[in-house]
């Protein structure tokens, strides 16, 4: 039996925000105590962690993790990605379908789960493709996918251009209670884009991605959510215009949610050095105004979740020109630091931060969130929110060595992560 004593517990689902001591036994939370157990009982614990001055959160859930397996083992694997997740405080990751072969059939979903069971130290939730091969042409068997264990459908980063097909996909997914993840982009407007359209694209002579591309797509998805009543999740969003529309949609109580990546929440195009391939992202980093809009939307609940958009790349894919570089950043290990940046800058408070990483994502998938309460699964992470560190991708648990935060100082570090009561991450200090 493990005792974590005197931790500041922040549990958004249970609305708990105070100092507690937690007993963990056989994978579950046995008791949540207001004060540490008396001295004579302490012999009962196999291990006691003095967590005073530290914060204890329910394990985080990521909605956008590229696990590399199957097909891209040189970029990432379940063994490495799950450790990266654990190092970032995540006890669950929803894995994206754009692996090879694409997760677009029940056997593929089962394969992913099998690989995860064998190698992952955190819980894995497969997201399946909404169309075969993510080609945007033929619907996948949503019911079958669901029973095989898929938790959601996704257009796989490639917007379905045929609006009628998209409507059918949403209607059908609704029948089986599956959320559909949609990519807010107009493929024509964004074709060949490398950076956000504006200041940077003008200066560097690289094709720009106009904010209108995202805004057009968001308008389209909101209209379809209203038409079909299906649960639509738009991710990752990056523009102020998208936020304006979302706010409207939420006011009208449409079944729409949205997520932003940790990097779009704290960085803007001005933060990236010219031609740094680590800053080659999709969507690109936007203007400071857009970033500010993200932060406002995080603080008022317009955005449901912060995601890692964990996209590890091998050096081959980043040691090339900006144009040739694969987009993406290995994000799992920097989400917490980035979100804490928002807390330290008083954009959001700690319970809200925990909400964006635990309850928000769970709500998007329609699953039960992790909680710190008696009888719950012991999915927990212990953090020191004032710990200073500097991002060095070479030290990542992930295979990915590409981080848009490379070299940046962060304040807030995960010290210990438990998944089903097992220690899956034990950081220094």
């Amino acid at each position: 039996m493990l005792l974590i004593e005197n931790a500041h517990v922040v549990d958004p689902a249970g609305q708990l925000d105070g100092v507690r001591s937690i007993e963990v036994d056989r994978g579950r939370i046995r008791r949540v105590l207001k004060s540490p157990p008396p001295a004579q009982e302490r012999a009962e614990y196999g291990e006691i962690i003095n967590a005073s001055g530290m914060h204890l959160f329910p394990g985080f859930l990521d909605l956008r993790t590229f696990a590399g397996e199957p097909g891209y083992e040189y970029k990432e694997s379940f063994a490495t990605v799950s450790r990266a997740a654990a190092a970032g405080g995540f006890t669950g990751v929803a894995v994206v379908p754009w692996v090879r072969p694409v997760t677009d059939s029940a056997p593929m979903v089962r394969d992913v789960l099998k690989l995860a069971a064998a190698h992952s130290v955190v819980e894995v939730y497969p997201i399946a493709g909404a169309t075969l091969g993510l080609k945007g042409e033929t619907m996948t068997e949503a019911a079958d996918l669901r029973s095989a264990g898929a938790v959601a459908l996704s257009d796989g980063g490639r917007p379905v251009q045929n609006t009628l097909l998209l409507r059918r996909i949403l209607e059908y997914a609704k029948t089986w209670g599956l959320t559909v993840f949609l990519t807010p982009r107009d493929p024509d407007l964004s074709r060949g884009a490398l950076v956000s359209e504006g200041e940077v694209s003008a200066r560097l002579g690289m094709r720009g991605d106009p904010a209108a591309s995202e805004e057009i797509a968001v308008a389209r998805y909101i209209a379809l959510a209203e038409l079909t009543g299906a649960r639509v999740h738009i991710e990752p969003i990056s523009t102020a215009g998208a936020i304006r529309q979302l706010r409207q949609a939420l006011k009208r109580e449409l079944p729409v949610t949205a997520a932003v990546t940790a990097h779009h929440a704290v960085l803007s195009e001005r933060d990236a050095e010219d031609f740094d391939t680590n800053a080659r992202l999709n969507p690109p980093l936007r203007s400071p105004k857009d970033r500010d809009a993200m932060q406002k939307a995080l603080s008022d609940g317009t955005i449901a979740a912060v995601v890692s958009d964990h996209s590890p790349q091998s050096s081959v894919e980043k040691q090339v020109s900006f144009e040739e570089a694969e987009p993406g950043s290995a994000g799992l290990e920097t989400v917490f630091g980035a979100v804490m940046d928002l807390v330290h800058h008083k954009v959001i408070d700690l319970p809200a931060a925990a909400g964006l990483l635990c309850t928000g994502p769970a709500r998007v998938l329609g699953i039960k969130p992790n909680m710190i309460a008696e009888g719950e699964k012991a999915n927990l992470c212990l953090a020191r929110i004032n710990a200073d560190w500097t991002v060095r991708a070479q030290d990542f648990a992930s295979k990915g060595r590409n981080s848009v935060f490379e070299g940046r100082p962060m304040k807030g570090k995960i010290l210990l992560t438990l998944c089903n009561g097992k220690v899956v991450w034990h950081g220094d200090s």
């Binding site: 504006g198 200066r203 002579g205 010219d274 900006f322």
Partner: protein, 313 residues
Amino acid sequence: MKFNHRHVLSMEQFSAADIHAVLDTAENFLELNSREIKKVPTLRGRAVINFFFEPSTRTRTSFEIAGKRLSADMLNLSGSSSSVVKGESLVDTALTLRSMNPDIVVVRHSHAGAPHLMARHVGAHVINAGDGQHQHPTQGLLDLMTVRQRFGQIEGLKVAIVGDILHSRVARSDLIGFQKCGAEVWLCGPPTLLPPEFARFGARMTYNLEEALTGAHVIILLRVQAERMNSAFFPTAREYSQRYGLNSEKLKWARKDAVVMHPGPMNRGVEIDPSVADGAHSLILRQVENGVSVRAALMMMLLGGGDRPRGDA
């Protein structure tokens, strides 16, 4: 004055003083051109690699002549950025070149920033000979040189850059260079090729050619690429030519002593009428001549760092 640049990557890196120092040196190279023996031993034993990932006879030849005039060993390599050597990253290429121990690597690449990446790994001075639609600093310098030669100064001149601003690395280099030297720069083109974000450069912008040309000392025309005509940036070459092409009639809007420049190759009859291209106002051939001098000057200045001990020896 010290020339403190390890590489030549972008016009942004230069101060006005740097620019004038390069032009001063380049002016002195012009004399070489008129000599019977056009070669000097300055860079004897030095190796310059001309690495052109994108074909460009004009610029490559200019660098080659410049290097040869200085007695450098010139090595021309061409590569393909898109098709052939998949698997060899640009960094690999840079490391391979590094092992050849060159002194200067001249890089032309269809991707913005490729010379910057090379500069980090190649272990030699890098000169950007045009990267994507980003920068073409040696063209910018030769344009500045051509204008300074004609007007004796750059400060206070009105410079109109006309055409496909959006896709032009020459426009980006020119507009920064001319502004640094105190010229008033006007950008002019159809809205599809002159998006509003160019306002960040601080230049004046107009869609009206007459406004751009009125009172202009310098008119820089940009090439209209065939592929732009086919991707709906403007309806037809004919309409473009009518609105933004320069002919002798429209040239009258500019000052009497205005000069016309073009980075080449020209589309005669589209952005420039033959009578203007070959007319008295045209400095287009002068640009080519100055190009060699500017490139030789840069090679010399990059390799000759440190203070020159004066007086004795």
